[in-house]
């Protein structure tokens, strides 16, 4: 009972903190949602890919639970599916130059992603060292942090690699 209550409090506080940070970034105009028409189109397609990825991932997760038995907490499994869908959406957007809006500063956003990744992966390492990441061979809800950390790291790496590979000189494109 205490275990679930503590988890509920932790999740609620974590989500509240997350919403507060995002609200602050929107207010400070660090996060902005103004995309041009080509970007809107590309993002629509990316949402489509992300949506179908989520459907397939949720089905595969459900199937794995039936066939292999419980291998992770439901919350962890759901987070894994969502993280996968978000990665597909973000990578599609990045490859079509539609991830960041017209007013967002790439360096600021990517620094934010790097911080998010480091903090979450740090929690993952901490949970790994002081056992808690798995219990009786089942991945616990604590694995949510490293999953988010890996997802943000993947997005960050794809963004940086795409930036480095795209030609700087417009005439060369």
């Amino acid at each position: 009972m205490n275990y679930h209550f503590g988890m509920l409090i932790g999740l609620t506080l974590g989500m509240a903190a997350g919403f507060a940070v995002v609200a602050l970034l929107v207010k400070k105009k660090v996060l902005d949602m103004h995309f041009d028409e080509r970007q809107e189109l590309a993002r629509g397609k990316a949402f489509q890919y992300g949506f179908f990825t989520l459907l397939i991932a949720a089905y595969v997760y459900g199937l794995s639970d039936v066939l292999l038995g419980r291998w992770c907490d439901v919350l962890t499994g759901v987070t894994l599916c969502i993280a996968l869908a978000i990665c597909v959406f973000a990578i599609t957007c990045i490859l079509k130059d539609a991830y960041l809006s017209l007013r967002e500063k790439p360096r600021t956003i990517m620094t934010f992603f790097a911080l998010l990744s480091i903090i979450n992966l740090g929690f993952g390492v901490m949970y790994h060292i002081s056992p808690g990441l798995t219990e009786n061979g089942v991945l616990t809800f604590r694995a949510v942090n490293p999953i988010i950390g890996f997802a943000t790291l993947i997005i960050l790496v794809v963004y940086v690699v795409n930036y480095l590979l795209s030609p700087r000189d417009e005439e060369a494109e």
Binding site: D36, E37, R38, D97, L102, E170, E173
Partner: protein, 64 residues
């Protein structure tokens, strides 16, 4: 199909893709995609580009 007329009109005014993009409120990649023929702009964006470059729709976008 590449839109070389748009590229020429932009170059004639000595505007970079970024400057034209800023003037019409889109990203540089969008202007690049239009010039390369990878993206078909809406009539609204076509008009904004024409106004900025001082050209007509026919001159920049009509394939006669």
């Amino acid at each position: 199909m590449k839109n070389l007329r748009l590229k020429a009109a932009r170059a004639a005014l000595d505007l970079s893709q970024q400057q034209l993009a800023d003037a019409v409120g889109v990203s540089r990649q969008t202007i690049n995609a239009i010039e390369k023929g990878d993206y078909n702009p809406t009539i609204k964006l076509c008009i904004a580009i024409c106004r900025t470059l001082g050209k007509t729709l026919d001159e920049l976008f009509w394939e006669g």
